[in-house]
Structures are given as C-alpha cells and as structure tokens.
Assembly symmetry: C2
DNA sequence: TACATTATGTTATACTATAACAACCGTTTT
DNA sequence: AAAACGGTTGTTATAGTATAACATAATGTA
C-alpha cells in the first residue's frame, strides 16, 4: 500500500477520495476513448460514498432518485463497465463492489475486510502476489486473476470490540 | 501442498480420493461426536466426485435420485455441516463447493482454479499466508479468515489451449 | 443524411441462499 | 414406558444476486 492511501484511518478527508476518484476516471476515460456517461459516473460516485463495499441492489434507489431507470441491468451494466476500466472491484465473498484507489494501471488486488465496521481497504500486496506466483508456478499453474479477500478486525474495531461504525 | 496430494495430475486414482475423504470424515465425526448422517455423507461423496467445484443446486438431482428430499435447504444444511467440520470448502468466486483433502486440522486454504477444465486444487500456501499476515499486520489488521482464489490455466490446459475436459 | 455502434429502457427469468415452522428420531430423564 | 429434550430432516415460501433478450434512444462516422 502506498503512503498516500488512506488505510483504516477513519479521519481522512473522504470528500477528497471521491473527488479524486471521479477526476481520475474522467481523465482515464478520455485517454481511453471510453464514455463515462452520467449513469456510470453516478454509480462510481455512489460506490465511493464510503469505504464499505456496496451491493448492486443498494445502488438502485439512488439511481431512481436521480431520475434514471432503476432496474437491475442498469446498475450491473454500469458496474461491469467500471470494473473493465479498473475503477471498481467486486468482492466475491460479499457480493459487493468497492472503489479502486489505483485505476490507472491494472493490478492484482487484495482486500482487508473488517467485520466490525464493514470497511474494506485494498492491499497492494506485492509480497502476497509473489508468494502466490511461486506456489502456483511449482504446480505449473499460470495465474491470470487473483482474488484475495481477508476478513478480520481493523485497528479501530479491535479496540472497541467490533462495534465501530 | 504436501507430496501425496494430487495436484493437476489428471491420472491419479480418484476413487481413492473419494474413499479416503469419506473414511476420514467418518473417523473425525466419531472423534468429534458429530453425526455423519446419510444425507451428509452422500453430499460429501457427491462433492468429491471430481475435482471440479459443484454448485449447491447441482447436487439436488442426485439427492432426489437417492430418495431424499431435494429442496434447497437440505443440501445447504449438509454443506453447512460439512464446512463446519472442514470437509468441504466454499469457493466464493464460483458459488461452488469442493472437497477438502486435509480436514483433520483447520487451515487457511487457497485455491487454484483452472478456467479450462474447471478443476480446483487446494494450495497449502504457507508462504502466501505469511505474506498476507505481514501486510495486514503493518496496517494493524487482525486476520480471522482468508479467501484466496486464483484463476488461470493448469498445466494440462496450457498445452491444449484450455480445451481440456 | 444514412449508417453503424454503443448505451439505455424494459420485461422476464435464472441462479443462489435462507427464513420459518412442522414432523421425526435418538437420547436422557422421570 | 412416558415425557421431555436436542438435533436432523421435510416442506413451503421468499429473499437476494445476476443475466437474457429485445426494444428504443443516443452517439459517432462515412
């Protein structure tokens, strides 16, 4: 994890996270000649509202409120696009989606998921990837995609016994 | 991964896998004073039919054919029990279940999942776990549960371009 | 403009998992 | 043996997650 990423520090300027994520997405889409349509931008913004992964169906009411169609395919399509562009990740063990702080380059990502406050932070785990690559390589297995999802307690919740909001 | 585990070798004596898994489960249940009922044993056997993870709903027809009730709760209950006992693992990214070759002791498990032949082999990834523990520790995160699911191509499928059955 | 391409709207449905309560069964207690 | 109990299974219903398929609209391009 790079130094400027907020980890589990609960007092970071989250508005800044959101702004930056949106701005990065706009720039990258322009470079890549992809269209960050209003729906897609809204979904990205919603996913970034906090560091707690959101389920697809949790996004629908907000879409409806913004005047868009709010049937499931709408949000799944937006999520699919955002994943392809690397702007969000899906967390399989939660059936939920979370913003990616480093969309500029594709990367193997892992997550630390706190069962106390439900926040998930991305782990830039070079060492984990190396170990995995070695173990897989010994079996002749060629890695294409990695999912690393770790559940536990973040520093805040360890102190408060998991009651942190 | 220990030496006696079949990895992606497709010619291992799979009947032996099944027998051994069932026998181990019987012994462990006796030791633990748990009941390996006919339904539970059947589900375990079905999950072990091959090394491809099976979805819960794929098990239902076989349960029906064996004369049991075949409504979803039946199979989910059996799977829940088998997971608690460590006899099977759930693979979140596939919504599927696979037999565990080392149920005698709880362990952090990872999986290599081949997108060619759909086989999944368990990775006894001590090194991966260590790396993860270190990375998490740096953020003050306390690990309770790990999911490591790696998708790629097994040795067989690398040769045949992923067409291996 | 005409055409192709991409995105969105809409309806329906598939797939995955659990809630809730009744019936059954083996064990222990009376 | 009867009653009480805990655990397992049967049964119905429903919650939660995701996609198929086709129609319409918007955008980019010749």
């Amino acid at each position: 994890m790079s130094q400027d990423d907020p980890g589990f520090e609960s007092d970071h300027d989250h508005q800044h996270c959101i702004e930056q994520a949106l701005e990065t997405a706009r720039v990258l889409c322009r470079d890549r000649k992809q269209r960050l349509t209003p729906i897609r931008e809204l979904v990205l913004k919603l996913v970034w509202q906090n560091h707690q992964p959101l389920g697809a169906y949790e996004l629908l009411p907000a879409l409806a409120k913004a005047g868009f169609n709010s049937a499931p395919p709408t949000v799944y399509r937006a999520l699919e696009f955002l994943q392809e562009q690397g702007f969000v990740h899906r967390i399989a063990s939660l059936n939920a989606y979370v913003g990616c702080p480093h969309p500029e380059r594709p990367h193997r990502s892992g997550f630390l998921i706190c069962r106390g406050c439900q926040r998930a932070v991305e782990l830039n785990a070079g060492a984990v990837h190396s170990a995995l690559k070695t173990s897989a390589g010994e079996l002749g297995f060629e890695i294409e995609q990695e999912m690393v999802e770790v559940v536990g307690l973040c520093p805040d919740c360890r102190m408060t016994g998991g009651a942190h909001a």
